[in-house]
């Protein structure tokens, strides 16, 4: 009877607390079960103890006292140890942030600061993000002339107004001008290593060159800040030292002499003849071109590129292996991690992916033997080209036709040509969206486009991997890697255990 009562009490407790855990709500069902269960258990234990334990013989008492004493001692030791450890407050921070290490680009930027930098951290005491931000700044301060000052929001209203601080956990990165002409500063309201890096770069960047962006034929708008605009790219170019100005193609008779490179972003209509001719002459005299072309477009630039050995396919590229695992799952949105050996992609690898929401492929043919043409970013070997114009329109589709060619296709290419002692460089990408505001910060897209610009303008020392505004732990894992881990470890291990168990079972039956 006592055992039955105890068992019933335990079951009631399990159900009561199990229901609470499952629903996160301590309702009547949970409460009744918990209290009744605890009560039944207490009654059963007490009754069982009174009924079973005999205090009669001295030996019984002695044994009980000894056993109870050992248990009490164990409890005392346990509580004492825990309280002592708690008072000592010894803890090891093994979190990812504790092991924080700045990127190479950040360390270089800190080492090459053009003056002492003060970082002001504006905070609310109850903001839990402060710990991480403080740790980040303190770590960075170890690599350059950087100091940290913390200001509580409510206690520093003047500074808040002066710098336009709107929320807790905001940083003001201030460069103290040694010449005394005034401080320059940048505000980072969502502090990260990437934000601080860009601020430092922007405060100290040397002049990189003049870029002429073509417009007038539906090209991407460098001043537009919504997700289809390219204001982010413009800001990145400015941060890294480039002065960008634009010109309508119809009025372009010749590319000005002071322009170092021409930037063309996804023209939707055919470029004017005069503009194309000006571009051809510019390239012929050693100019630099950065072309971001959408699949399915015919802007006239394709013919120009073809004369330089870069032939763009009109088809849409599908990659079933590297295709993104989004809802459409058609392989048109590509997460690429195959890179050729080229300075632009020098630091990109299978863990540093680039994302293209729809891309065309290029094929390369050297116009002259000494020309250097490379596919910088490649698809997987299972990719194929869809010639179906309907597919181009809706970015969807089924499996390829039988017999269609599957191969590595170049999504981004780089060409270097030496003509009459002059060097022409072209960086072309078969997608323009990857550099739009929507996708510029996705994965390593920013690094690809900016490194392409640096290479095109022969500023290879500036090629780097920029620290991310968001954590690397916010990046996806390649599907193939995930599956490989699942098959290789996640499923293989249980399989081996089951085989071992079966072998044991068979051996036991035979024994």
């Amino acid at each position: 009877m006592t055992g039955q009562l105890a068992l019933a009490g335990c079951i009631a407790l399990v159900f009561g607390l199990g229901a609470y855990r499952a629903t996160d709500h301590f309702g009547a069902f949970s409460a009744i079960n918990v209290w009744l269960g605890a009560g039944a258990l207490a009654v059963a234990l007490a009754y069982g103890a009174v009924r079973r334990i005999r205090w009669g013989s001295p030996d019984s008492r002695r044994l009980l006292l000894r056993g109870g004493g050992i248990t009490a001692l164990a409890l005392t030791v346990a509580v004492g140890l825990e309280r002592a450890a708690d008072r000592a407050d010894l803890r090891f921070d093994w979190t990812f942030e504790e092991r924080f290490e700045p990127a190479l680009a950040t360390r270089r930027a800190l080492a090459e600061l053009c003056g002492p930098v003060e970082i002001l951290l504006f905070y609310d005491p109850r903001d839990p993000r402060i710990r991480r931000t403080r740790l980040l700044v303190e770590t960075l301060a170890g690599y350059g002339d950087v100091s940290l000052r913390e200001l509580e929001l409510g206690a520093a209203p003047e500074e808040v107004d002066r710098f336009g601080v709107g929320s807790s956990n905001s940083l003001v990165i201030r460069l103290r001008d040694a010449a005394g002409s005034g401080d320059r500063y940048r505000l980072a309201e969502r502090p990260s290593e990437g934000a601080i890096y860009e601020a430092l770069y922007g405060l100290c960047a040397a002049r990189g060159g003049e870029i002429l962006a073509l417009r007038g034929e539906g090209e991407g708008d460098l001043e537009r800040g919504d997700d289809v605009g390219y204001a982010g790219l413009a800001a990145a170019l400015a941060t890294e030292g480039y002065a960008v100005r634009s010109q309508v193609t119809t009025s372009l008779e010749a590319v000005p002499e002071d322009v170092d490179a021409v930037l063309v972003i996804a023209p939707r209509r055919h470029l004017h003849r005069s503009g194309l001719a000006a571009l051809e002459r510019f390239l012929g005299r050693g100019g630099r071109l950065i072309a971001l072309l959408e699949p399915g477009s015919d802007s006239g630039l394709e013919a120009v590129l073809a004369r330089w050995g870069i032939e763009g396919s009109p088809s849409l590229l599908h990659d079933p292996v590297d295709g993104a695992q989004g809802p459409e799952r058609d392989g048109a949105a590509i997460v690429a991690y195959h890179y050729d050996r080229h300075p632009i992609a020098a630091q990109l690898d299978r863990n540093r992916m680039t994302y293209f929401s729809g891309a065309r492929a290029f094929s390369l043919r050297k116009p002259e033997a000494l020309d250097e043409l490379s596919g910088v970013v490649l698809s997987s070997p299972e990719a194929w080209l869809s010639a179906d114009p309907v597919r181009l329109g809706r970015r969807g589709g089924a499996a390829p036709n039988p017999g269609v060619r599957r191969d590595y296709f170049a999504i981004a290419v780089a060409g270097r040509y030496v003509r009459d002692g002059r060097e022409t460089r072209i960086f072309a990408v078969g997608d323009a969206d990857f550099a739009s505001n929507r996708h510029l910060r996705t994965l390593y897209n920013l690094d690809l486009v900016m490194n392409g610009v640096h290479w095109a303008l022969a500023r290879e020392p500036e090629i780097t991997l920029r620290p991310k505004i968001r954590d690397t732990v916010q990046f996806p894992l390649p599907v193939t890697d995930s599956l490989r881990s699942l098959y290789g470890v996640g499923l293989l291990l249980p399989e081996l255990l089951l085989i071992a168990g079966g072998a044991v079972w068979i051996r036991r039956r035979a024994a």
């Binding site: 009924r51 079973r52 005999r54 009669g56 013989s57 030996d59 019984s60 044994l63 036991r508 024994a511």
Partner: protein
């Protein structure tokens, strides 16, 4: 000491193997052993008889120290199993009823464990295992799983593990319960070989078994001693069976 043949240093030759004085054990309101006064001499084969629920197994558990007496005392080879439990257990071997073994172990592994658990090791352990395997004809089954063997073989294994450390007192509880006649003969033969060099306390309700193995017997009924003496004298009478007739209201022995 572990592994020694246990002629206990602190007991003299005159000290009986087991001596119970006023031994009582209660389970709640039920008295399983009631004021038992019993002396079991050394180097004898002694049978403890009684019907089911008479208190035999409870008495054995009191002797081995698995239970504490509610009242009274018991001494084993001159020692108290409550206060000197380890010393008492070093000097006794306990062969329980069939089935209280580890069925998932092989016979050799089980004997090795039982010997090691009693403090044997190295050559002493190997020799002990060889001795008991020979004594109980277990050579053909050493690599078999205990759980796959017949009840008779398991009973021999239980006896074998009780004798690994060569104890002066061997307690056997229901040695041939549920065995067939051939298996019973095998076990009796093995037990008979133990008599003379050590005290053998056999707990049984089988009169034929008691007559075959024991020089002296004691009969329990309702936890009380109702007869004790030479086997022929106790079991030779015309109303022998009346000794085993359960007292009114007697319940089966609890499994402790």
């Amino acid at each position: 000491m572990a592994g020694e043949s246990a002629t206990t240093p602190s007991s003299s030759a005159a000290c009986p193997a087991v001596e119970a004085v006023g031994l009582t054990r209660r389970f709640g309101a039920r008295v399983a052993v009631d004021g038992l006064d019993l002396t079991i001499p050394r180097n004898a084969a002694f049978g403890l008889l009684g019907a089911n629920g008479a208190g035999k197994t409870t008495f054995l558990r009191l002797v081995t120290g698995l239970l504490l007496p509610s009242r009274g005392t018991v001494r084993v080879n001159g020692r108290c199993p409550v206060r000197e439990a380890r010393a008492v257990q070093r000097g006794l071997g306990f062969a329980m009823e069939t089935g209280r073994l580890y069925p998932e172990l092989r016979v050799a592994g089980f004997l090795r464990f039982a010997g090691s658990a009693r403090g044997l090791s190295g050559k002493a352990l190997a020799d002990a295992i060889e001795r008991v395997v020979d004594a109980f004809s277990l050579g053909s089954v050493t690599q078999r799983l205990v759980g796959h063997l017949s009840k008779g073989t398991q009973q021999r294994i239980a006896l074998a593990q009780a004798l690994l450390h060569d104890p002066p007192l061997v307690i056997v509880d229901e040695p041939t319960g549920s065995l067939d006649p051939l298996q019973r003969r095998e076990v009796w033969s093995a037990l008979a070989g133990l008599v003379g060099r050590r005290t053998l306390l056999i707990c049984t309700h089988d009169l034929e078994e008691a007559r075959a193995l024991c020089a002296r017997v004691a009969v329990l009924r309702a936890g009380q001693l109702v007869a004790e003496g030479a086997t022929d004298a106790v079991l030779g009478g015309a109303d022998t069976l009346s000794l085993f007739r359960p007292a009114p209201g007697a319940a089966p022995e609890p499994r402790a």
